[in-house]
């Protein structure tokens, strides 16, 4: 029931805010804050209760489940479930949700009701994606988060917002529809094999797909996830969407929407099509490496702070791609860490960009400089997150990238060597951020206001979490371990015996 409650809380919170926003402009943000915090508290208390019982060798990796028939005639059910992986991402979702509400506290002054409605519905869609165990339901949530995001960018974004919103929407929708076709294909193949029409993940996970078909179905899923992640040839929507979106939009995009792509690969591509996943592992890793280097180089050449951070996301998501397709425990643990820490560190950088924009009315780094003098607190925090982004030991990002590279080394040495060069590039662009904005000669006449109390709070929470993850990542690793062990075991057994019933992964 907790899982349903999460979705209900956010959705009703959104509608309530929309309606009450007509009377009072301040009410929606309080409602939003309340509903997101409620969701977060529910999750954390559940997690704390559970934390004792999760151990690395635990087999019952599905912690909680909810099931209800939805469209019975098609075999569609409202089936939610969470394992450690889902749980981490759900906590991340609501954590960033709180941050997002706090960030937009003063930035958004117009149409607050509709704004928080969109924000909460994105969160509902994202958390639905992380929980859905019915492929139709998954696709449904996958699409539900798009429209509010489209509005968020299109209404509250900066100058070129409409273009960016279109681009975002059409890219993701087009790739999503390919996924829908793949889901339908799987549905009918399963029905042909067994005579049962169902979209249930647990049932479909055992489907034996003819190899020729399996490739195309996998591609249907992969393209949808690769666009979301984004992997290099499919990334062009991302810099535009990021740079035009309001601060919160960028935060949610980088922190959550990109994660849904990685989650989809972990949850659907590998368990449903392990054999094909093996086939495409090398090209996928290659694209990951390309993404790392290409993203880093382009990040270096940006003058717009938000575009810079956006391209660093492309680079960091390359690591995720490599990690996923290394198919070993270390790399996958690193992937989970990367998902969490990237959300926090990049989110913080986007928030910083938003704060700078609020103060200086520009995002052009050539017009900044020497800000440390006026804003030492922001400078220090900026330095910290720039360092986090380049993967300095002591921050969570280091653990993540280290684990990924360690795991990938076992899978493919030369690609790993290339990927490692990404760390050097990331040092270059991260230092450039600090140099250009906070150090160097001071620009004439800049209004410099350091953090307000609210901003201090936001940044303190983010700082504590990124350092906490860097010093003590074990809880995250433990929580994700059962799910990851299962994934690894699938990948180990699969190529030997294709016919083997894979139901064990998901049956409980």
């Amino acid at each position: 029931m907790i899982l349903v409650a999460l979705i209900c809380i956010t959705m009703t919170g959104g509608i309530l805010g929309l309606i009450l926003g007509k009377w009072n402009k301040n009410l929606p943000r309080w409602i939003a804050l309340a509903s997101v915090s409620a969701g977060f508290l529910i999750l954390v208390s559940f997690w704390l209760n559970l934390n004792q019982s999760i151990s690395i060798n635990n087999d019952g990796n599905w912690l909680i489940e909810f099931r209800q028939t939805w469209i019975g005639s098609f075999g569609i059910s409202f089936h939610l479930a969470a394992d450690g992986l889902s749980f981490l991402l759900l906590i991340l979702t609501f954590f960033l949700g709180i941050i997002a509400v706090l960030c937009s506290w003063t930035e958004i002054t117009e149409r607050t009701g509709f704004y928080y409605f969109n924000l909460l519905w994105i969160l509902a869609g994202v958390s639905g994606v992380f929980m859905a165990m019915d492929l139709f339901l998954f696709y449904f949530f996958w699409e539900v988060m798009l429209i509010p995001m489209y509005f968020l960018i299109g209404i509250w974004g900066s100058e070129n917002r409409v273009y960016a919103a279109y681009k975002f929407f059409i890219f993701t929708q087009a790739s999503g529809l390919l996924m829908l076709l793949a889901i339908l294909g799987l549905y009918f193949i399963h029905a042909q094999n067994t005579g049962i029409y169902t979209f249930d993940y647990f049932e479909l996970a055992g489907t034996i797909v003819p190899p020729a078909f399996a490739f195309w179905l996998t591609m249907g899923f992969m393209i949808a996830f690769a666009v979301k992640l984004p992997i290099v040839p499919f990334h062009t929507w991302l810099p535009d969407a990021h740079s035009e979106a309001p601060t919160t939009g960028s935060l949610i995009l980088a922190g959550l929407l990109l994660k849904t792509g990685a989650y989809g690969m972990l949850r659907f591509v590998i368990p449903l099509f392990p054999a094909t996943a093996h086939q495409i592992a090398f090209p996928a890793m290659l694209l990951g490496v390309l993404g790392i280097i290409y993203g880093a180089i382009l990040a270096f050449s940006q003058t717009d702070l938000k575009r810079l951070v956006a391209f660093t996301s492309v680079s960091h998501m390359g690591f995720v791609m490599i990690g996923i397709f290394s198919f070993n425990e270390l790399a996958l643990q690193g992937v989970v860490m990367q998902l969490v820490t990237h959300a926090i560190s990049t989110g913080a950088l986007f928030i910083m960009a938003g704060m700078l924009k609020e103060r200086l009315h520009t995002r052009d780094m050539n017009r900044m400089g020497g800000l440390w003098l006026g804003m030492p607190q922001m400078g220090a925090i900026g330095l910290l997150f720039a360092m986090a982004s380049l993967g300095l030991p002591g921050t969570g990002n280091f653990i993540a990238e280290f684990l990924i590279l360690l795991g990938a080394f076992k899978a493919n040495i030369w690609l790993t060597v290339l990927a490692t060069s990404g760390l050097v590039f990331s040092a270059v662009y991260s230092l450039r951020i600090v140099q250009k904005i906070f150090l160097g000669p001071q620009q004439e006449q800049q209004q410099t206001l350091d953090f307000s109390l609210r901003e201090k709070l936001v940044m303190a929470v983010l700082t504590l979490s990124i350092i906490g993850l860097g010093l003590y990542p074990q809880p995250v690793l433990n929580t994700a371990a059962p799910a990851i062990n299962k994934l690894v075991s699938i990948m180990m057994t699969e190529p030997v015996d294709l016919q083997k019933d894979r139901q064990t992964y998901v049956r409980h």
């Binding site: 469209i71 019975g72 098609f74 449904f140 699409e143 429209i147 299109g154 009918f188």
Partner: protein, 479 residues
């Protein structure tokens, strides 16, 4: 004809009788308001009578008609769409013309024609239904005769419809020549054992498809659509987009299922070409339009293409998918045109996208209804259009029509762009281009808004919890 024959035909007879009754009311010089309300009542009466004849089904009436679940369902949709159009017409026409009363007579006749099509199983009833429908439409399209566009649209429709009727007749004649019968089931027994259709039959079928294609506005017979949609009064456009197409599609489906035309490769190929062309051309042509009525016209071309995708596999799922999609499409299209009709002023229709700039901040209710309708047309989840599109894809993929499914998906991505453009316009800016509603007919305005809200609820309901409707569709059978 026996008594049961009469009661089985009750909904259609009521429609026919209503037109006569309304004509008499006009003779007595009742006001527009009374005529409108009484025709609303008559529509409701005809609609409710559908429920009474349910227990008779399926029922054959001579060789001309067969009243079955599917036919009743389609008639229900058509009468409902007539009902909605009737409600929307009052505030639209009240201030425009001297005598908007005859309009209702024509509306009843057109609804009757479309309804007849839905239950025909014979060329004669098919042709009669089609002519009742189109002859009424000529007058309806050109109804606002003081406007340039209307006359132009009326003439365009008149010429092309007459032209297509000629083709249809010639095609029927050729098929009659080949099979010696005009009844679908008799034709079916003639071709049942054939592997390849005889050339005369194919030619006839092709000619018929030309004729029907014009009515359905599928590519390449779509040239009239945008102009007629733009030129006709908004409620009439809504009627053309829904009822007239629904009826024609229903009879086409019945015909093809009867003769099992889908198993002949040539026929399937022709249909596939039409479907692909409609989806691609419709969506592409809509991209650069600035007029909402024209956008909806091209979008309707694309949607008929989608419907053909459900139609082509010719399996049991086809009937369900077509029925469900028609249901979704009717609700959606009526809602979209309804908002246009409500917003239209005395002089100008609210048809330019510019008119909708900032609508959400001025009239949130109307903007939400229109957004729901457009999102549904675009096929976004939580709306009827999504479930419908899903149904269609399922029907296509089940029989292995992957190429069609992929083209559907790709072309509907293009479609997103123009729907989003309208939605974006509604949410941005604070434009004041539309004169404020003068609230001259508050009661009718409220009623119109009520029915539009109901449609919006239907759209969302079909998107969120379509299970009941789907199980209803699964029972539909074509006899």
């Amino acid at each position: 004809m026996s008594d049961t024959d009469f009661s089985a035909l009750m909904p259609l007879l009521l429609l026919a009788g209503s037109s006569v009754l309304v004509m008499l009311l006009i003779v007595v010089k009742f006001s527009h308001r009374i005529i409108q309300v009484s025709s609303l009542f008559l529509f409701v009466l005809s609609f409710t009578s559908l429920f009474y004849i349910k227990k008779l089904l399926p029922y054959q009436i001579g060789t001309l008609f067969v009243i079955d679940d599917f036919g009743i369902f389609i008639i229900g949709l058509i009468v409902f769409s007539g009902l909605v159009v009737n409600i929307l017409s009052y505030i639209y026409f009240e201030e425009k013309e001297e005598g908007p009363k005859e309009y209702y007579v024509l509306l009843f006749l057109c609804t009757l024609g479309a309804g007849v099509l839905a239950v025909s199983k014979h060329f004669v009833s098919l042709f009669l239904g089609l002519e009742i429908l189109t002859v009424g439409l000529y007058a309806l399209i050109a109804y606002l005769r003081k406007r340039h566009h209307s006359i132009e649209a009326g003439i365009k429709y008149l010429i092309l419809a007459a032209f297509s009727s000629a083709f249809l007749l010639f095609g029927m004649a050729l098929i009659y020549l080949e099979t010696g019968t005009m009844e679908f089931s008799a034709m079916a027994s003639h071709v049942v054992s054939m592997q390849v259709l005889p050339p005369l039959f194919i030619t006839g079928l092709g000619m018929m498809l030309v004729g029907v294609g014009f009515k359905l506005a599928v590519v390449p017979f779509h040239m009239w659509t945008a102009d007629v949609y733009q030129g006709a009064p908004v409620p009439v456009t809504a009627f053309i987009a829904t009822a007239s197409k629904g009826g024609v599609l229903a009879v086409l489906l019945r015909f093809f299922l009867a003769i099992d035309g889908f198993r002949f490769q040539t026929v399937a190929l022709i249909l596939i070409c039409i479907a692909v062309a409609s989806m691609v051309v419709g969506n592409l042509l809509a991209l650069r339009q600035k007029n909402l009525k024209r956008i909806l016209a091209y979008s309707s071309i694309a949607h008929l293409g989608y419907l053909m995708v459900a139609f082509i596999p010719g399996n049991t799922m086809s009937i369900q998918a077509v029925s469900f999609y028609l249901f979704a499409y009717f609700a959606t299209t009526l809602a979209a045109f309804g908002v246009i009709a409500v917003l239209s002023g005395r002089e100008e229709d609210a048809e330019e996208i510019e008119n909708y700039r900032g609508l959400f901040w001025r009239h949130p209710g109307q903007a939400c209804i229109l957004s729901a309708a457009l999102l549904s047309l675009a096929g976004i989840p939580l709306t009827a259009g999504f479930t419908g599109k899903f149904y269609i894809l399922a029907a296509g993929i089940q029989k292995g029509f992957w190429a069609l499914a992929i083209i559907l998906v790709v072309s509907s991505v293009f479609g997103l762009y123009y729907y989003l453009r309208v939605i974006t316009a509604m949410f941005t800016g604070t434009g004041q281009t539309i004169p404020e509603e003068d609230e001259k007919h508050p009661v009718f305005f409220r009623v119109s808004m009520l029915i539009l809200s109901v449609l919006a609820v239907v759209i969302i309901w079909l998107g969120v919890y379509p299970d009941q409707v789907i199980s209803y569709m699964q029972q539909l059978q074509v006899k």
